[in-house]
């Protein structure tokens, strides 16, 4: 049973560029949440997608956007990259009916902005 798959694993981008990160949820899960984890910090909620719509957004600017496809996979897009966007980006999947039953996380995409 495949868990959450994220790609790429590592990425280096230049300030001002745009980046797209991808996530395939665990089999049977239909909800995808994205988190940003700065070095030495806990994950911070970016947004959650269910039924191809954004259900809730954390305290992140509009430069952060996302998408969910009919097969439940998801993308995180970040425009106009800043040095401060350097972080580990985590995708987590869950069952919408079990939103309070914990996530399954992927291993993340390490984004470095130079």
């Amino acid at each position: 049973d495949a868990g959450v798959t994220q790609s790429p694993t590592h990425l280096i981008k230049t300030r001002g560029q745009q980046v797209t990160l991808r996530c395939s949820p665990k089999s049977g899960h239909d909800t995808v949440s994205w988190y940003q984890q700065a070095l030495g910090q806990g994950p911070q909620f970016i947004f959650q997608y269910y039924e191809e719509e954004e259900r809730q957004r954390g305290n992140f600017p509009d430069r952060f956007s996302g998408h969910q496809y009919p097969n439940y996979s998801s993308e995180l897009n970040v425009n106009a990259l800043l040095l401060g966007d350097s972080a580990l980006y985590l995708c987590a999947s869950s069952l919408v009916a079990a939103a309070n039953y914990g996530y399954t996380f992927g291993s993340g995409t390490r984004l470095t902005v130079v």
Partner: protein, 112 residues
């Protein structure tokens, strides 16, 4: 209101000892309190979770103690092993909510 405060920031325990990590919250609307374990280069993995209608939950060597009146909960790792060396995050979420609030993490090192 939305924060979960976690302590200590780091912890060193001898093999076979008890590791204790504490968390506190303010928002009484939180009703689900998971703990996640994260190894370097990996995403967090759900370890154990509790709801506020019970005061303790045990799964193997891992126990959550929950004090609703004090708005505090803690993770106890009994018979700590070197393989338990990782970063541990407490977290909280609300019934019907869509996001989970994480603590800042505790780096645990178990000395052999």
């Amino acid at each position: 209101q939305q924060q979960v405060k976690q302590s200590p920031q780091s912890l060193i325990v001898q093999k076979g000892g008890i590791s204790i990590i504490n968390c506190a919250y303010e928002n009484t609307a939180f009703d689900y309190f998971p703990w996640y374990q994260q190894f370097p280069g990996k995403g967090p993995a759900l370890l154990i979770a509790i709801r506020p209608d019970v005061s303790e939950k045990k799964e193997g060597r891992f126990t959550i103690s929950f004090n609703k009146s004090a708005k505090q909960f803690s993770l106890h790792i009994m018979d700590s092993q070197p393989g338990d060396s990782a970063t541990y995050f407490c977290a909280a979420s609300m019934l019907g909510g869509f996001k989970t609030i994480f603590g800042a993490g505790t780096r645990l090192f178990v000395k052999a």
